[in-house]
């Protein structure tokens, strides 16, 4: 082995160490951050919220906890292993989510403090000693009723709940969402509307929402806070959308069309030229025959 080769290998090894160390940068975690405790106790709902956040923000690198499908090459650890759970307190994970380090981005601005704790509850739920110690928020059964005001294109939703004696009373201050059903999901229209003291929330349907061929729209109304008021979804078909005119683009004569949809100018110019050329040839042949006869 020559001297030059030795140097090459040395440099390569050195660069590899440098590269891996830059990704697996050491975490410097202050002691008070390690001992930070969550301000709320974990509940099933909070863990579920954390799971949803994890799926859309963390899973692409860290994989599913405990499955080992994390991308180890970029320094992302499997958060479900017993090893990780024992060596990391809740406060420590919270700090890491906030700060970010090396390959891991900071989520300080992305999540609210509550969201971060939900995320940590979800991660910690893979620890055997994890306990769901908090109490779920009390459910307040509520119902929705819809009525339409045709003239001003307004949908009114009345929220009601039952008092202790089982009598129906209007529900005040509940946030109601209005959706229009679309192909792959429900599109929210307008902002969140809280119900007034009569339990009513209303929304004006904008004029330019495309409906089907008859201008029909499928309206869905529900409470924002489904944990408190239950999953009440009311739907109604309204006729206030703009009418869809189905245009089959393949009916038009276009250059990109098939043989049956050739633009007319192409047809005319092609056949015009072909017929013209044959006519000329025919005329010439005819003249030659006449020449011979002379």
């Amino acid at each position: 082995m020559t001297y030059l080769n030795k140097i090459k290998i040395f440099v390569l090894v050195f660069m590899f160490i440098l590269f891996t160390s830059s990704i697996n940068a050491q975490w410097n975690i202050p002691a008070d951050a390690k001992n930070k405790k969550p301000p709320i106790d974990p509940t099933h709902t909070l863990v579920k919220t954390g799971k949803d956040l994890y799926k859309s923000n963390c899973a692409s690198c860290h994989g599913t906890p405990g499955q080992g499908n994390n991308i180890a090459a970029i320094g992302a650890t499997d958060l479900g292993t017993a090893d990780y759970q024992h060596s990391h307190s809740s406060g420590q994970t919270f700090f890491q989510v906030e700060q970010g380090n090396g390959g891991m981005p900071s989520f300080r601005e992305k999540f609210s403090s509550d969201e971060k704790w939900c995320l940590i509850f979800y991660i910690k739920s893979f620890d055997k000693d994890f306990e769901i110690s908090g109490e779920e928020l009390k459910e307040q059964k509520a119902d929705l009723r819809l009525s339409l005001v045709e003239k001003i294109r307004t949908v009114k939703a009345y929220a009601t709940t039952k008092d202790k004696s089982g009598k129906e009373i209007p529900l005040e201050g509940a946030e109601v969402q209005f959706f229009i059903k679309r192909m792959f999901g429900n599109m929210q229209i307008g902002e969140l509307v809280p119900t007034d003291n009569k339990g009513m929330a209303s929304i004006k349907i904008p004029e330019n929402i495309p409906g089907d061929e008859e201008g029909k729209l499928n309206l869905l109304v529900k409470f924002k806070d489904t944990d408190t008021y239950g999953k009440v979804i009311k739907s109604k078909t309204i006729k206030w959308g703009s009418k869809l005119k189905i245009v089959n683009i393949t009916d038009k004569r276009e250059m990109w069309g098939s043989l049956h949809r050739v633009p007319l100018w192409v047809l005319f110019s092609y056949f015009g030229m072909t017929i013209g050329v044959w006519l000329v040839i025919g005329y010439v042949v005819f003249q030659i025959i006449r020449l011979k006869k002379l």
């Binding site: 692409s60 981005p105 229009i180 679309r182 192909m183 792959f184 999901g185 599109m187 089959n248 393949t250």
Partner: protein
């Protein structure tokens, strides 16, 4: 004139008699079905005695009572071809790609290659590293077929193998393709690939009917391309790449409904408003191809550009 009239009359007679025959046949058929239903309601396992020979999966010939047979709802290749050429009426599919969210996770590519039986080096969708030059920061750009409304590729096909459907999707028919690769040359977005060798898992797909909306089984010597997951759209599902993305890059929807849905968050927003608010653009608009794929510029980035440990284009300045 007389002579001309006669054959018409004859054919009329013929057709009426055929109609009568069909009517009678239908009546008789309905009668049998009704009777069968009545008998069947008395005894669910009544056997009408008619046995049919069936070839089992282990290769043995068995006899099964006809009443126990059930038709599997599989479409024949011809049905798939007709439906695939027609498209879905009243739809105009569009895709919006948010470049600020892409961090080169490449899960879109993986799910696409899995669905369409592609080899690792074959891409219907590819995530490219892009640089706008000067002091700008590089970014990742997923690039599927643009499904142009004025497609240059279908114009050059000599055998009508590649075509545009009424819902805006540009498809290719493996059964018609002769492998001339004119379309590959015509496409300004390099969206098409060629099957130079036998496809992946060729033996596994030998008996599978060709699905024009999935382009599976792939075929050696033919062109393949992104299909906007036409098979998934028929089921009302988002395309493979869109639903595989972990970072919310893709929006997909129907422009006729003016709504697009994010594949990751499943949030649905107005399509034109999304384009307007985010200064959306299309690729190579100067060519007049009218793409159905829109891009949102790479602002408010979720992730820093990082490729093989470097934060700039590795081939930008050689050292």
């Amino acid at each position: 004139m007389k002579e001309k009239k006669n054959p018409e009359k004859k054919s009329e007679k013929k057709s009426t008699s055929r109609r009568d025959f069909l009517k009678k046949g239908l009546l008789a058929g309905a009668g049998t079905v009704l009777a069968g239903g009545v008998v069947g309601s008395f005894n669910a396992f009544a056997q009408n005695g008619e046995k049919i020979k069936v070839l089992g999966s282990d290769g043995k010939v068995m006899t099964v009572d006809k009443s126990h047979l059930q038709e599997i709802g599989l479409k024949t290749e011809e049905e798939m071809q007709v439906a695939g050429r027609e498209g879905i009426p009243g739809k105009k599919w569009v895709m919006v790609i948010d470049l600020g969210k892409c961090k080169n996770a490449r899960l879109c590519m993986a799910s696409c290659q899995h669905a369409h039986e592609l080899k690792p080096e074959q891409h219907h969708i590819n995530v490219l590293r892009m640089d706008r030059g000067g002091d700008t920061s590089p970014f990742f750009m997923p690039k599927p077929c643009q499904h142009c409304d004025n497609p240059p590729c279908t114009k050059v096909c000599p055998v009508d193998a590649t075509f545009k459907r009424q819902d805006g999707i540009v498809l290719i028919d493996n059964e018609r393709c002769i492998g001339c690769r004119f379309c590959i040359a015509a496409c300004p977005y390099s969206a098409r690939i060629f099957n130079w060798s036998d496809p992946k898992d060729k033996e596994k797909y030998e008996d599978v009917e060709y699905n024009i909306e999935l382009n599976v089984p792939q075929k050696k010597g033919t062109v393949s391309k992104c299909l906007f997951s036409a098979d998934r759209l028929r089921e009302g599902k988002l395309p493979y790449c869109v639903s595989a993305c972990p970072n919310g890059v893709y929006w997909f929807g129907d422009a006729n409904e003016d709504a697009v849905t994010n594949g990751t968050t499943k949030e649905t927003v107005p399509f034109k408003k999304l384009l307007k608010d985010n200064a959306a653009y299309t690729l190579l608009p100067e060519l007049g191809t009218k793409p159905s794929v829109y891009y949102l510029p790479e602002k408010d980035r979720l992730f820093p550009f990082e490729y093989e440990g470097k934060s700039d284009m590795e081939d930008k300045n050689h050292s």
